[in-house]
């Protein structure tokens, strides 16, 4: 649950993720990720580098801020949900009614 405690802990990471709504920030991140992440801690940079959605969420990232990073990297929501469940995308899609609707 994303509450004020998580929001406070994740503020710096969420601010970075949110900045990816700006095209120039996305372009910088794709070109030179370390420069784009210079305000993050080493722990935060590591999670972003690995695209470790679960670690970032546990740390305090809002799902909706994670979506900005996912869109920037071309990752879909079903891929993120599969990751949270500890499944591959193929395993997750087998549990869905219309696997092609994505």
């Amino acid at each position: 649950m994303f509450d004020l405690e998580r929001s406070a802990k994740g503020l710096r990471l969420n601010r970075f993720l949110h900045s990816l709504t700006q095209r120039e920030k996305r372009e910088l991140f794709l070109r030179d990720p370390e420069a784009a992440m210079k305000n993050l801690s080493e722990e935060e940079r590591g999670m972003v580098r690995r695209l470790d959605w679960k670690a970032m969420q546990d740390y305090g990232a809002s799902f909706f801020c994670l979506e900005k990073l996912a869109r920037t990297k071309g990752v879909t929501n079903p891929e993120m949900v599969a990751h949270f469940r500890g499944e591959t995308l193929e395993q997750f899609l087998k549990t869905r009614r219309v696997p092609g609707a994505r």
Binding site: M1, N14, S62, C65, M80, R85, R96
Partner: protein, 276 residues
């Protein structure tokens, strides 16, 4: 005087907008969704509301957690489309209705709903993913929108009861507007889904069907529930259906559901319902 001619409840899943932009109307995976919106689009084309009052949430796009309002009302004459990390959707800027929005703002503050008021901000898919299913984008939007942005992201969220009461106050505000305008209410969100944690991918069609029944017949019962109830029954993110209660609160006590569609292809149950 302004009139409320009906209400629409709808999901606002981002892929609905993507499916529209990619022209997936005839794709068998998406056709049940497009078909489900046709009666709503037809109703809007026939009834020609001047304004759609849209209750939705921003997805940490326009508003960030350094300042996240519980209820924020847009009072502009125009709204840009927000960039959510993929560039802009190819749709026109949204037309607002500043005069009616200002009247609603004054009326709500007089009723002790002290809202955040905003101007000249871009709006995200929470509003326009369902809108493009219902309203033509060409040559331009046929009318105006008034956006009400609700916090359903960062706990504590407003209670379901607060949302229902706010809807009633919005209904009174619209009906006290002196000009002849036709307004339709739109409540967005849901239905059941959970995007995070071990329960990610959760849905419950039985609860969704019950919700669709209660929102028509007994919204009071939904308003008496807690946010925790909604999260347990419909998933963490599914609790956003409290925004349907704002729409429902502005309608008459007795309403008739003219149409309903339910489609659960992937992670989020996609529903649309029309009330008069």
């Amino acid at each position: 005087m302004a009139r409320i001619i009906g209400g629409i409840g709808t999901s606002h899943v981002p892929t609905i907008g993507v499916a529209f932009d990619k022209g997936r109307h005839e794709d068998p995976d998406w056709q049940p969704l497009f078909k489900g919106y046709e009666p709503v689009a037809k109703w809007l084309a026939e009834k020609k509301p001047d304004v759609l009052f849209f209750c939705f949430n921003d997805h940490a796009t326009t508003f960030f957690f350094d300042h996240y309002p519980t209820f924020a009302l847009g009072v502009s004459d125009e709204y840009r489309i927000a960039d959510e990390g993929m560039g802009l959707r190819p749709i026109p800027r949204l037309k607002g209705h500043a005069k009616l929005a200002r009247h609603i703002a004054k009326s709500l503050v007089n009723e002790e709903f002290d809202l955040t008021l905003f101007q000249d901000l871009p709006l995200d898919h929470g509003l326009h993913s369902p809108l493009t299913m219902m309203w033509p984008t060409k040559p331009d939007w046929p009318g105006a929108v008034i956006p009400l942005v609700v916090n359903v992201l960062q706990q504590p969220l407003p209670t379901p009861r607060r949302c229902y009461k706010l809807g009633k106050a919005i209904g009174r505000a619209i009906r006290s507007y002196p000009d002849d305008l036709k307004v339709a209410m739109v409540g967005t969100g849901g239905l059941s889904h959970q995007m995070i944690g071990e329960r990610a991918g959760f849905n419950d069609e039985k609860w969704d069907r019950e919700f669709l029944d209660l929102i028509e017949r007994d919204p009071e019962r939904l308003a008496a529930m807690s946010i925790e109830d909604f999260m347990r029954l419909g998933g963490n993110e599914g609790a956003e259906v409290i925004m349907w209660l704002i729409m429902r609160g502005a309608l008459d006590e007795r309403v008739k559901k003219l149409h309903q569609n339910y489609y659960l292809p992937m992670t989020t149950a996609m529903a649309v319902a029309l009330f008069e």
